[in-house]
Amino acid sequence: MTTAKAIIPKPVTTTDTYIRMLVFNPTQHVVWVCQEPYPVQNIIRRIPVCVGDVDFKLYHGPSPKHEIPSGWYHEFLKYNLVKPDGTETLSLAPVPTEYVTPIRLVRAKCYALVGLWNLIKGQTEKLDVHNNPLVSEHVTIEEATIIYADIFNIPRAQARVLAQFKKDELMNRLKKLKLIELEIETKIANCLTEEQVIEYYKLQTIRLCSTQPLDLGWILDPKL
């Protein structure tokens, strides 16, 4: 007979390192990482799980520099970082030959996706779409009409036209950005080769008017 043990959460300290990871399912090699500065204030963000063949894992503990003197990020870039189960464990192992190409493909997909999400986020901020009150379903045209009529000193009928225009403008932009997001992640998840991902990524950075996109080539083959 075994006795069930109570699982006591480890207290969070501000000196801990907190790394979100995606690992390649067959080998547990880490293909994507995101280090948070302070776990209590972690930012809710999208993690590229939709690329497939990956599992979400978390490293939470003291800085792993003693465990991996060469640097965990350095080893990650060299495709050597492995994340076993357990929040405080990391290990190193070379990628088996037969998995080199699949792991590079998944890493390319993860970073292409996050890079493009960031460009979309940049557009969302630039266009004031995300937090503008008119985007909220709680703010009705009638309520906005009253505010505009009062502040701009215009008739209610005109204020209503203005409110509707501004709402339409924002919703139109929001919809376009969401559709781009959906298109991009569906396409990337279905790419079959690293070259397809890189080519698609380059085109989408142009489409999204980016002048300084993330260099995907460097991520895949870093000059260390």
Binding site: Q123, K126, L127, F152, I154, Q158, V161, L162, F165, K166, D168, E169, N172, R173, K176, I180, E199, K202, L203, T205, I206, R207, L208, C209, S210, T211
Partner: protein, 354 residues
């Protein structure tokens, strides 16, 4: 296949790319489509351009002196003439005026509102203004007093406008290049930034400082030699740059910012009417530039269109309006990066062989 449009945005100087080839001859400036075949150093075996901008028709003899008021009167009358042509082209269609609130689109809207056909189009639901919230800040008095009370407004959506066959899109594109060129750089020369009327040679040290290879100045000198009249001033030099290299790109913008597949109407004015690329304004532009009108700075070259607007709106304070750049906040997606002479197009990055 000859190039008709080439988007240099985000193109890289990779080996054997078209842009790298251009850089080796003229430096790092954006590679333009050469409207008048001015660039002798471009090897026609490697690259050829297909011009679609209407050929200018002009007569440079017996023109009034540069300070004659007849230039202003003529400029004003062109608005009425071209507005009339817009209504003729729009017969049976809805007019959508692309309104940024800036000087050019405002003057276009004023010209259309002054026309006798305006009420007919408006009352039948065939006149709308396509704008963004930023357009309001550019000229709030005009928006709240004239546009909002009487004209339907829709958010700018190039896809919706370009893909609707019943809409004629009217733009003020290229208005910045009718008189001078608002892209002329601002820099100090002998203690002043009022440089437009100075000899063009003062540009050489400035441009050499930007591009230390001297290639960019070589580019300027080469094209100035081929102008239809002597290029004397800075204002004329930049006007000629605008005429030679800007319009071809602007004609494509509504088409490359939308996913419209049929590009056969890019060279025509049937789908997009570019008010300031119409023949009357083109003729005026060449003839007026040839007399080297006296302008000093960026704001002064905008005097005629501002006066045309104020003549209608009576907002005298508008004459002191400064540029707001609200268009930079417009949502524009790039769908096409290269267009060829047969109307085929591509969306690709930098693998364009030379």
């Amino acid at each position: 296949m000859r190039l008709q449009f080439f988007n240099t945005f985000n193109q890289r100087y990779s080996e054997n790319s078209f842009r790298q080839y251009y850089k080796s001859i003229y430096g790092t400036g954006p590679c333009p489509v050469d409207r008048f075949n001015l660039l002798d150093d471009i090897d026609p075996q490697l690259i050829q351009f297909n011009n679609i901008v209407p050929e200018p028709i002009y007569n440079l003899t017996n023109l009034p002196p540069s300070n004659s008021s007849s230039w202003r009167d003529r400029f004003f009358s062109l608005y009425d003439e071209v507005a009339n042509d817009v209504y003729v082209k729009a017969k049976g269609k809805k007019i959508a005026v692309m309104y940024s609130g800036g000087i050019d689109s405002t003057s276009v809207l004023v010209a259309l509102m002054k026309h006798l056909k305006y009420k007919e189009f408006l009352d039948s639901g065939n006149f709308v203004v396509s704008m963004s919230s930023g357009s309001i800040q550019e000229y709030p008095e005009f928006f709240y007093q004239r546009i909002l009370p009487e004209i339907p407004i829709v958010p700018v959506d190039y896809n919706a406008l370009m893909c609707d066959p019943n809409i004629l899109v009217v733009t003020g594109d290229s208005g910045d290049y009718v008189i001078g060129n608002t892209d002329t750089p601002v820099f100090y020369h002998e203690g002043t930034t009022e440089i437009l009327n100075k000899p063009k040679e003062i540009l050489w040290p400035y441009l050499n400082d930007i591009n230390k290879t001297g290639l960019f100045v070589h580019f300027f000198k080469e094209i100035c030699k081929k102008a239809p009249f002597d290029i004397v001033s800075v204002n004329q030099a930049y006007w000629w740059i605008g005429q030679a290299f800007v319009h071809q790109g602007e004609m494509h913008y509504p088409f490359i910012w939308s996913n419209i597949q049929d590009l056969s109407e890019v060279p025509t004015f049937n789908k997009v009417y570019r008010f300031f690329l119409s023949q009357p304004f083109m003729t005026f532009s060449f003839e007026y530039a040839s007399v080297d009108p006296y302008y000093t700075d960026f704001n002064s070259v905008r005097r005629f269109p501002k006066e045309y607007i104020v003549d209608y709106t009576k907002h005298d304070s508008y004459l002191n309006k400064i540029k707001i750049f609200s268009q930079r906040l417009l949502w524009r997606e790039i769908y096409k990066t290269t267009v060829y002479e047969d109307g085929s197009w591509e969306f690709k990055s930098d693998k364009r062989a030379t």
